[in-house]
Structure formats: C-alpha cells, structure tokens
Amino acid sequence: MARAAALLRPGFAWVKAGIFLAALIPFGAIVAAAVSGELGANPVEALIHHFGEWALRLMLVTLAVTPLRRLTGWNQAVRLRRMLGLFAFFYAVLHLATYVVLDRSLLVEELLEDLTERPYIMVGFAAFVMLVPLAATSTNAMIRRIGGRRWRLLHRLAYAAAAAGVVHFWWLVKADVREPFIHAAILAVLLILRLPPVVPFLRSLPARRPRRPAAG
C-alpha cells in the first residue's frame, strides 16, 4: 500500500502531466505552422522530417529512462517509460502516414518500389514494424497476459527499433552525417549503460542517493 500511495503522490502526477503536455508540443507547433502556412517551400517534406525527428528523439528519451533510474535511484521514472514510448510511436505513425499519404499519394507501386529498392526506406519501415507489437502490448492487461518475463524479452525489440531508426536517418543523409552521428552516439551510450558489467557501476555512482520513503 505504501508503494501505491507513493505513486499517487501529487508531485509525481504533476511531473507526468507536464511531460505528457511537453511531448505534445512538437505536434501542436507543427499543426499551428501548417494551418498558418508557415511550413516553407516544401511543406510535405517539413512535416515528414519533423515527425521523424521527434519519433527518433522520443525513442532515445524512452531508452534513457532505465539508465536514469539506475543512476539516480528515482524508481518512479519507470512509470514514465510507457507514456514516452507511446509518444515515440505516435510520432512514428504520423511520420509514416505523412510519407504514405501526402508524399506518395497512396500509390502502391511507388511504395513497393521504395520498399524493395531504397535501403533507407527498408530499414525505416523495419523500425516501424518493430514498434507495432511494442505499442500493442503496452497495456497492463497485455503485460499480465504475456507474463512479465516474456514481455520484457519482447520489449528488447525497442533497442533494435531505435538502432534501425538511427540507421534510417544516417542513410538518408547525403553528406554531413553530424546529426545522425549524434543520435547514434547517444543510442550507443544508452545501450552500453545496459551491459551487465556496467549496471552495478551505474548504481554505485554518487548521483544515486537513497530516496526517502514517501510521506504518509
């Protein structure tokens, strides 16, 4: 009961609500820009890039939750992970939908050509396909049904999905891979922090302070 009470602490609810709203800002901002005609010379491209960038960023943020928790001992952070992951999926859906509907006008022939001839599309699509079962099994009921152990195994797909997303970004850049490189470096750090020899080290760092038990 103490645990449940801790989760319901008003402080954490506010943090979660704040992050929820923050994660919607990129969506609101681009819709506002689209409505007022401020997407620039190539609005479709602007939308696709915007949604894709935020899908990838939020994937990395989601993967940062567990190392952050281990580092700081802020165990409640894990309660943010599902929401952040679902936001990453939300932007990935918008990214794919904008490309399929607005850029390719739903032309099956062109979409198939892209899927069979363009490596960066193949790997990007693979990233999306991997996110689908993760989003579909994100409810408490699904976790129970699958069983915690198998569920955790399945959700390791998130690492592969993020890696495929970074490769997708890297391969579509013509020159100057600085931005994809930054994303790749962040992902590499987040994955290294999960290696069995690294985890105890992370927990021993001074950043981790014992949290006081929740009041009341």
């Binding site: 010379a41 006008s105 490596p119 850049v173 013509k174 100057d176 600085r178």
Partner: protein
C-alpha cells in the same frame, strides 16, 4: 503600365501575388519619382521588389525565346529553399548563413586547352554579352522542382572568346573556396572546392546558361552569386554556383557528387525518370510552393528539354551513363 499580360500566359505571376499591395504600390511610386521610364517595366518582374534580398536590378535585360507556360516559383521560395552546402546542408542554411559572402568584385579564370586563356570579370561578362531572361525548370535529384526566371549569358558565347582547341573535350568548373565567408566549407563533409563538368557539346549547347540574376535582379548569395551555371536538363547539382574557374580539358573531369557517391550521381546526371535512384524515385517530382495536399507531378525526360538535347546522347545507354 507596359506589362503585357498575355505574353507569358499563366506563367506570369502578378506582383500583387508575391508582394503586399502597399509595398508594391509604394515601390512603383518611388520608381516613378526617381524618373524610371518604361524600361523599368519592360519585363514583368523587372520592377518587382525583392522580398527575400535586396538585390540590385540588372540593366538592359534582353528577352529570349526560352519561356515556359508554367507558374513561376515565388522569389521567396527560390531564395529560401536551397541546396548550397558551402553555407550548410539545411535547405534554409544558405539564406541564413550567406550574409557574410562578398560576391563582388569577381572574376573567372578561363584556361586549359584553348588558344586564349585569360580572365573575365563580372562587369566584362554582363557588359559584353546580352543578358537574357530565361524561364527554366530546375529539377533537383531530391525529387523537387522549381520554375525559375533566370537572367544570364549563354555559356557558349563566353567560351568562344577563349577559343577552345580540338583537345577541349570537356569543360571543368570550380566554385570559389572561402571558408571564412562560407561556413559549410569549414567542415569536411564534401571535398572542397566544389567541382563540376560538362562535355564540350553540352557546354556549347544554347540552353547552357551562365546565370547572373533571377527575377530581373542580381543573384542573391544563396543562389550562387555572382555567377553560376544553369543546365536545365540535368539535376540541379550540375548547375555549379559561384564559379571562379573554367578549364578546357581532354579527359572527363572529376565532379564533386560523383566522387562522393559514384553509384548515385553519374557524370552526366541527365534528368531521367526511367533511371531508379537509390534514394529517391525519379518518376515524379514535387513542385516547390504547392500546398500540403498537392500531388507530385510526373518528371519529364531531360526535364522536358528532350527535343533540344536528346540528340547529344544519340546511341548512348543513359542508364549506364547516368
């Protein structure tokens, strides 16, 4: 007003469409007071205020037969959506970071396999040859396109002055190298300076243009000031910007994007919807400036200049020689 509304058909963009009406009327008033005569209005866009830059108006522009019955891309879009990696790789980077570039004074060194190597400076270039207005399609390899009203000098006229010899099989072009004025050049993602090349018959083709302006004004920095190449039947990266040298050579010269990724960017780089590209389908293109819901339009072979240039490539396998 001496603006003829019929000549350019639907391709003519009304000034009121690109400029707040007040600014436009005010500009006309100013011009009138300054004593500008009919000459200022001889071409539809000669009197248009530059929205995105304060370019000087080009004098003595000559009409040409190269016009298109298509909507012109707006000056704002042409000057804010650019690939000019010398100023950064983002589409907005050239407009944002080219303010420190000083295009004048300028001269182009011409040499190699020719009888009279020498230098031609900017004033000489625009003073010695007719500066024509030509509306061309511009097709980027990234599957977007524009319709641009260039002002420029036919390349063949300029090249003839230097009397290329029979050994001049190609013309090699080079962009200026000024990392202190071009922030992109401070980083090594391309092998600077940017170089391009044409086969000599391509260079001498009447469509090949040395552009010095657009919309009747001097080229803005982000569009390749003060002198750039425009080869409308090839992908945009062939149209090298801010040219400082032209060299006649016997062998096919190296070109920047071909060196970067040979299987993606060939030496010829003719617009070709039939040749599949590893990044972008080339079958259709997005006309810049359209709405969010506008569909792409079909890409034409040689960017619609097939009639004019197809004979240059008679018998060539254009998939192999892409």
């Amino acid at each position: 007003m001496l603006i003829k509304t019929s000549r350019y058909g639907p391709g003519r963009v009304r000034p009121s469409e690109i400029t707040p009406k007040g600014v436009w009327l005010n500009r006309r008033e100013l011009l009138k007071r300054a004593g500008f005569g009919a000459a200022a209005f001889a071409v539809p866009w000669a009197s248009w205020p530059g929205l995105a830059h304060a370019g000087r108006k080009l004098e003595n522009l000559v009409e040409s037969g190269w016009m298109l019955d298509e909507d012109l891309t707006s000056l704002e879009d042409i000057t804010t959506y650019n690939n000019f990696y010398e100023f950064g790789t983002g589409k907005g980077d050239p407009a944002r970071y080219s303010g420190g570039f000083k295009p004048l004074p300028w001269s182009i060194r011409v040499g190699g396999e020719c009888e009279k190597p020498g230098v031609i400076d900017y004033e000489d270039l625009i003073g010695s040859y007719p500066v024509e207005e030509r509306v061309y399609r511009l097709r980027c390899v990234e599957a977007w396109s524009m319709v641009v009203p260039w002002a420029g000098v036919q390349l063949s006229e300029v090249l003839r002055r230097f009397q290329p010899t029979s050994k001049a099989k190609y013309a090699a072009f080079e962009t200026v190298y000024r990392p202190e004025e071009m922030p992109g050049q401070e980083r090594g993602f391309l092998d600077w300076p940017y170089v391009e090349g044409l086969r000599i018959d391509e260079a001498m083709h009447p469509l090949s243009l040395l552009a010095v302006g657009l919309y009747g004004e001097e080229l803005p920095n982000q569009n390749g000031a003060p002198v750039r190449l425009v080869v409308p039947w090839k992908y945009g990266y062939k149209s090298i910007k801010s040219i400082v040298s032209i060299t006649f050579v016997e062998e096919e010269p190296p070109t920047t994007w071909n060196q970067q990724a040979p299987h993606e960017y060939g030496f010829y780089s003719n617009v070709n919807p039939e040749r599949s590209h590893p990044r972008w389908s080339q079958k259709r293109e997005r006309r810049v400036g359209g709405s969010l819901f506008a569909s792409k339009i079909p890409t034409l072979k040689f960017n619609g200049y097939e009639e004019e240039v197809a004979s240059l490539y008679a018998g060539m396998d254009l998939i192999k020689h892409h």
